[in-house]
Symmetry: D2
Subunit: 338 residues, 4 copies
């Protein structure tokens, strides 16, 4: 039996605390030894809550700790690439939240550092680990719908982020659609060649004033001929809408939203079912656990991570292609922006 | 090709007019030649609306018309048995609305008259012709669920009938459950041996004052070992609730309610689907057409009707057994009341 | 009460016979007086089956018959525009199957003739009369989902037409998507400004050899800001797939496929529901009746038809825009082709 | 903030290990200090796996440990009553797996000991904590379906237990239906007065030879007038079937089975959904965690447990009433057997 993996966590914000809880309570094969945050109190609070032995301000203590084999990077996006380079230099395996960076040059330097150090890097595209989407991928890969022809992804948030966040988010394609780009590649198992994106400001004019859009429809043309569409909205009043459908020569597979319960009430007004789970924390909790289990397991078994550095890079390229397509109102090939 | 069947219709009330419309417009193999009603104006109005050549007050003109091969009896329940005897004596094939009668002796005399005359008699248990229930029967008969073990029938009306009707209805078991008793026999293809019924007045105290109950749960033990339950209510506020489920050694088959459309609205309050079709006229329109087509066809092809006289008698026996079970609070064997 | 409308039917092919049956048996307000077909036997057979008094070869007898107020044009597409002009000249109201023509000039002449004659023209976009889609339109128009933002149309045939038909069909966008273009305009209640179409040959190489494609995804940008997508395939092995979804500021409405029954079988392998109704004849039977009722009614009540000549023209323009977009791989504004 | 609760676990079999895992990893407010099992190795293995400090053979060490405030009794059923008495005497709060005992006298002595000691006793009717059933109860209690009239419980196992277990199980009503009896009381919030049970051997003759039945339908008459039915089978080939429906004056609420994913595949054969989760471990995992959280919380907050000793007693009485009803083929009042 493989020995447990000693882990250090960098960044004790919302997503960091989520991973901390899973590493501490849900993944017996992990030992979470330390947590750092530039706000020391945040690290201390996280450590207290999840029984982590050490809470520090400077992440370099984690990088330098010889007992720590793997780091989980949950600091702010602009630090990801630097953290990856440091961790690689320190010989640590790396789990990094998405995106690696918005700058392709920085991404490439980080990936080169990982390559050179021979450490493992897994990028946090958690949705691949959702039981529903994984099942769709399995069915597609097993040929249960024949050759895939058409992919449909519906991905709508329950509410837009704060305008301050919107301003630094990189825009809807790099902030929100990026998950759907990864999902598209994952489900179809082929690369996208060309992207066409349209969109508008329909949810909140303030988003437009911040230079972004809040509603988008994206067409994807894959190398293997599949055509995909993604539709995004920053606000679905009925909650987090996350569905996919793959249609092929032998049939179709589709998954629906998850709900907190299955209670259906029939009354004089209609037949009423529950709303979808509100947002990603509720909807994707299982996938967050599963991605971290997979990370720990790939270290123990010395296997390639299920989501690699290149998997982290390509959706960023797709985001830039989508943005250019939207701006220039024409289909854009990925080669134009990569 | 068989020649068309000349039909006379007796009784131009709601159900009579329904059959008139179908015979006139929807069943090309039928010629509806005459309609009678003890209220002549009703017959005339029906004739005008559906293009029936002859409208009369006295049904005996239909019985005596040598051109008429078949009669459709939609007069009041207390006249059914007499009408059957007259029609049989006149050598006409007979479609009779359910029930034949509430008096088993009168039923037996009517059935004997049919037998002696060698005419066909079909009783109006239309629900057997509903596409959903027919599909369930086909699947059960084809062994798709293995040997059946458990039957569940949910049968709830959207609103109780007028109290004046309740008083002469024969009670819930003979008026409402009688359809479910027929459905139970049809779906399982075996006879019921014993019945246990409980119930109460939950919908409207006036129904209790009229000597009836409005809510009932009935347990059926079949000769072949299957156990069935029926639940009835005189008022489902969400509309006509008509579902069945058959469970067996190889699986389960279930059908759900029919709705006017499939539009599902998701809003901030929930996910809302359409109500079931309101009542039997809407819900069972296809089955009314199909039962009449089957009647015409069995005449043309000289085959046994799909719902026979004995199929009309047994549910009445079951109704009496259920009533006695309810009154004496004990399981009652059909042999005790037949 | 309005007097019945005397109708003549031109063309006794599959769709002609369908309308003949409805006019003869299902629409009491119509008198179907004559049917013509260039193959006289086809007209005669149709007349015999549906009790139409007169069967002729030359449609001009219908045009010249002073008793006939309205014609239903079901002849081959290349004759539609000419028939409309003749009927208009004869002062007859016109129901014409879609499309009016593939030549915009001929369409415009036909519409001008209608305009000049002051007769009514209804074009056969039957799907608007489907209870599900009508319900979606009602809910959208009533503001039940707020302001619409995103429209999704899934429209997949169960099997491609014969290759000989494909060759003269005008291509997938004018033959198949044309219905979806009409649906898009109907559901959103706004005009499309720009179209982007991608597609490929995935179902049958012979379709590609015939110069057409069999799979397409189309993006629609509406004047009111709504963004729509349509996906088409010539072959869904599970049957006719006809779904729509409209998403807006206040929620979402979606409709699902229609099935012959609701029987769900649970066995050791899974939970199995029925396939969708196979193709348009089964799926849209109610809509064909309803569109013809609406046509008869608009004559009786002297109202504007619910689908006008311009409603017949615009989807042809959209088809040309989609074709050009596909050929040139760029978004095309309707103004470029109209 | 309340201090954590120190817990000892008695019995390291399947259900004991389940609770151990939850107490160790999922319930931060609990400290699991010791585990005992008459097979020492079982206790040791459990301790090693879930990080429990102490593994012992003799449960009395747990009873005597002054640090332990609460015991979780998962030993064999015949020891439950004795364990409760010992724990009560030691002043420990008690969580006991169902049933307390099959002997009402022993149950009463155990409950009296609990009463006298003033400790808390929670009985392991976990299904009350299932999110679906809890939601149904909330909706019923909130009056969302008006006054309840009819309750339907479907409860079918995927496979029968080993025959050796059947022989000592107490029979289907005390072993399997007992959970449904508790569910019925919980959902309706009223006591059952009378029970009528029918059943048979349909799944496996060996069950009949062991003196039991494998299929049953039970009718429940509640004090508040509600009528309930339960249907049980020891083998549903499609998996664990656990559904309830409550119908009332204002509507109906129903919940459906849980599945591992929502992937629906449409192919040429049909539309195929996933099977229900296989059995109680998978289906009710959330409820096991929630019941234990509730137990810990009622200790911390000094509140009454959500499932009390009397809640543990009454379903046993109902089981005896059902058994007598089946044997004597008559409705049996609970007063006859209590």
């Amino acid at each position: 039996m493989a020995s447990k993996v000693n882990v250090g966590l960098i960044g004790a914000g919302r997503i960091g605390r989520l991973h901390a809880e899973h590493l501490a309570f849900r993944i017996p094969q992990a030992n979470l030894l330390a947590v750092s945050d530039i706000i020391l109190e945040a690290a201390q609070k996280c450590a207290a809550e999840f029984g982590i032995p050490k809470a520090i301000q400077d992440h370099r203590e984690i990088m330098e700790d010889p007992n720590i084999e793997a780091v989980v990077i949950c600091s702010s996006t602009d630090t990801h690439a630097q953290m990856i380079e440091e961790a690689a230099a320190a010989g640590k395996h790396i789990f990094c939240e998405k995106p690696i960076d918005f700058d392709l040059g920085r991404i490439d330097r980080a990936l080169a550092a990982v390559e050179e150090a021979g450490v493992k890097l897994q990028v946090g595209f958690n949705r691949r680990f959702d039981p529903d989407f994984r099942r769709v991928r399995e069915l597609v890969a097993a040929g249960k719908i024949g050759e895939p022809h058409i992919l449909r992804i519906t991905s709508r948030d329950p509410a837009p982020p704060p305008i301050e966040y919107v301003k630094v988010s990189g825009g809807i394609f790099l902030d929100m659609t990026i998950h759907d780009f990864d999902m598209a590649r994952y489900l179809i198992g082929s690369e996208v060649e060309e992207i066409y994106a349209v969109g508008g400001v329909m949810v909140d004019p303030a988003i437009g004033e911040a230079g972004d859009i809040d509603t988008a429809v994206i067409t994807l043309c894959f190398e293997n001929g599949v055509i995909g569409t993604i539709d995004n909205s920053r606000r679905a009043v009925y909650g987090y809408d996350q569905r996919v459908e793959v249609f092929g020569s032998g049939g179709m597979v589709a998954v629906s939203n998850k709900t907190p319960d299955s209670a259906v009430v029939s009354d004089a007004e209609g037949v009423h079912g529950p709303l979808p789970l509100y947002f990603f924390i509720e909807r994707y909790v299982d996938s967050y656990i599963a991605e971290m289990e997979a990370f720990i397991e790939c270290i123990q078994q010395d296997r390639m991570p299920p989501v690699t550095g290149i998997d982290g890079r390509i959706p960023v390229v797709m985001g830039y292609a989508a943005r250019r397509s939207y701006e220039e109102n024409r289909p854009v090939r990925l080669g134009e922006v990569a």
